[in-house]
Amino acid sequence: MTTLTRQDLNFGQVVADILCEFLEVAIHLILYVREVYPSGIFQKRKKYNVPVQMSCHPELNQYIHDTLHCVKPLIEKNDAEKVVVVIMDKEHHPVERFVFEISQPPLLSISSDTLLSHVEQLLRAVILKISVCDAVLENNPPGCTFTVLVHTREAATRNMEKVQVIKDFPWIVADEQEVHMQEPRLIPLKTITSDIVKMQLYVEERAQKAS
């Protein structure tokens, strides 16, 4: 086993690649499971050796792709603390928040199977939890939409430049209204710990969903 720092082998980039790929799968699955979009736009695919649902709508796919493409530099530099998929009702008040809390160790101990089998196994477990989370969550009101929030370790404004990697895809500081939820119920879904990343996923659910 070898101990490396984040600078060695451009490890941050590798971790960012893995996490962004995972987040893409997770976002598609959340949108399907929580019925943010009609199920007709989703098709069954296989990822991490489990079936997942992925959107076939080019605009939506592009939106998710662009979002994560912008988030990647923050994850790479370990600047992203949380990536939150917020499901909002018609009045743009959050009803559910899927919070991916990410932490990366400063020193990385890697072995040959660290990247492939173990991490993939852990990510698969998270995906499986997402696919069954509707059992513990209340139904969402009709007409919901979503957004992706990124909590940064430093002030948001300092990280603005880092996320503006796509010209036509600007980022702004979120409104308080989009962030805070009234009387949230906390539902822990999964915690994973590997040599390269630690992540916990929990859902904050609004107590009274019908507005």
């Binding site: 736009i41 098709q43 076939c56 939409t145 002030a155 980022w171 308080e176 989009e178």
Partner: protein, 252 residues
């Protein structure tokens, strides 16, 4: 006591015993009549505290998918060849599973052709050129027909070979069965039927070079599936049912 300016008050007092307490008391009493102003708490102008707590988000909102869009997509998906197999096979997994490391844009590539902008002839033509060899298995929906009836003949075969009801078997349709029909036409119809849950537990594979279609299903539904194939797809002649290790055990 006298006013020096608006902000300062000077108190001239000669203490006889030198006690500071008396001085403070007298000052407090003298100032009681003056209004007190609470100074605002100093807050740094950059970076704002609230900003530290707020996350960032894309300015653009995600797309809203209208019913019209949905219809377009569903029509397209139904007419397109299937994208996922039901049962793992080395080839299909290689093609369909996203790679474990590094970004895969398989789904983007597969789906980017869907939508109003992509409905031109060239795109559809190029998409049809991608010929897949495995069908899609759908677990959605209920089987409408009575699928569990066995003929006496088939029952005897099951009994004779002691077949398990959940054992897999395959119907083979070869070129001799396509006298009147076209294999591609049958293949498309078969895919549609499987995707629409008309053929329980089925998945199918086409061998274009052999002009052969294999339809896999559980023994439990074999006879129903065989009859369905013959009736719906105008399959001529006899079709044969194969079971692993036993070979052909039944014909229809």
């Amino acid at each position: 006591m006298r006013w020096q300016n608006l902000m300062d008050v000077l108190l001239h007092y000669k203490s006889t015993d030198g006690s500071l307490k008396v001085l403070v008391d007298k000052t407090e009493k003298a100032l009681e009549d003056f209004p007190c102003r609470v100074l605002p708490i100093f807050t740094p102008w950059f970076p704002p505290e609230s900003d530290k707590l707020l996350p960032i988000r894309p300015l653009k909102s995600p797309p809203i998918i209208s019913l019209e869009d949905l219809e377009n997509i569903q029509t397209h998906l139904q007419s397109a060849e299937p994208l996922l197999t039901s049962h793992p096979c080395a080839e299909s997994i290689q093609n369909l599973a996203l790679t474990s490391l590094g970004r895969s844009t398989l789904h983007v590539q597969a789906c980017s052709k869907i939508g109003p902008s992509a409905q031109n002839k060239d795109t559809l033509h190029s998409e049809r050129e991608v010929k897949r060899s495995w069908s899609v298995f759908s677990q959605r929906g209920l089987y409408i027909h009575n699928t569990l009836t066995f003929s006496k003949q088939f029952h005897k075969v099951v009994w004779k070979h002691r077949l398990h009801m959940r054992q897999r078997a395959k119907w083979v349709i070869d070129k001799l069965n396509f006298v009147t029909g076209d294999i591609e036409h049958t293949w498309r119809g078969l895919n549609r039927a499987i995707r629409n849950s008309m053929l329980p537990t089925c998945n199918a594979n086409i061998q274009r070079d052999l002009t052969q279609i294999c339809v896999f299903c559980d023994v439990l539904y074999c006879e129903y599936v065989g009859n369905y194939l013959k009736e719906e797809f105008q399959v001529t002649g006899q079709i044969t049912l194969f079971v692993h290790r036993l070979g052909d055990i039944f014909t229809l």
